[in-house]
Symmetry: C2
Subunit: 153 residues, 2 copies
DNA sequence: GTAGATGCAAAATCTTTGCATATTG
DNA sequence: CAATATGCAAAGATTTTGCATCTAC
């Protein structure tokens, strides 16, 4: 009842209604960790066949408005949604596409720096950092090196 | 001839050809700082009316392949491309959409941390950090506070 | 009962692809 | 001349909108 209570009260506080579709969407997001609207749709459909993709988009928007889910852009494609409580920073390898997750508090120092320097309040729970993962580093370094050397002369 | 030389040699090294369209696209990206394919298209069109949006996409891909431009996802919409030399971190306000830019080296410590911890080589030049800008912090904080208080009881 | 949500179909975006033609090296 | 790039039209993919119907409260 805890989870449900949270959804119900949070929706009500914003003058929104509790519907089975919204419950299912929130459940799907929580179960999937992070997922695109399409993935959420598929998940929801496995329980309720008739739910339309339009409803998924609208439910995700609604849940995001009230702060129960967030979205992040992990790569080229569609945004991925995740539950509010599912907090971590994504490390996206631009080479192989692999996504690693690390705790948000690794960014505490940076957050403090940005706050002081620019008055910017970093939201580390939204974050995707791109770079090269351990596995790809060997090859990638070689590539860059070759290019850099040729470039210099 | 420096700029042009770089484009020419870099393209050639990858077995690609120098075309007016590619030059214009690269120029546009450099002039615009960061821009969506559509914005690049408009810019290029102001000089060469007939250049097709398809060509913009292909040119951006080509230039990205050879490392002269990169793209970042700043928000919901289209990716924005920027020139390789145009390095900075974007601070994207999820409230008002404003984009601030700060030097990459603010992330040096974090990069070192991630390298040691996860073997991940952070590419700070690709980066968009989301959060709340100074201007929006007042309102946003109030919002969160209200919500947090109600949530707790 | 009424405001708000859903489903469906259609439109709007954004991006990619196929192919004939044109251009670069 | 041969390999590549471009333009155009059409197809794909993703997301949004309009509207009639339905549902939560």
């Amino acid at each position: 009842m805890g989870e449900t209570g949270s959804l119900r009260t949070t929706l009500h506080r914003h003058g929104m209604r509790v519907t089975p579709q919204r419950r299912l969407v929130l459940d799907a997001v929580r179960e999937l960790g992070h997922a695109t609207p399409d993935q959420v749709h598929r998940r929801v459909r496995s329980t309720a066949r008739t739910v339309n993709i339009t409803t998924i988009y609208r439910a995700l928007d609604a849940l995001e408005d009230i702060g129960l889910v967030r979205h992040t852009h992990l790569g080229h494609g569609a945004p991925t949604y995740s539950a509010d409580e599912h907090e971590h920073v994504h490390l996206v390898c631009h080479r192989c596409g692999e996504i690693d997750e690390v705790p948000c508090d690794l960014l505490d120092d940076l957050a403090e720096l940005l706050r002081r320097r620019s008055g910017f309040e970093l939201d580390a729970t939204h974050l995707a950092l791109s770079g090269t993962c351990r596995g790809c580093r060997g090859t990638d370094d070689a590539d860059h090196l070759e290019r850099a050397v040729e470039e210099t002369r």
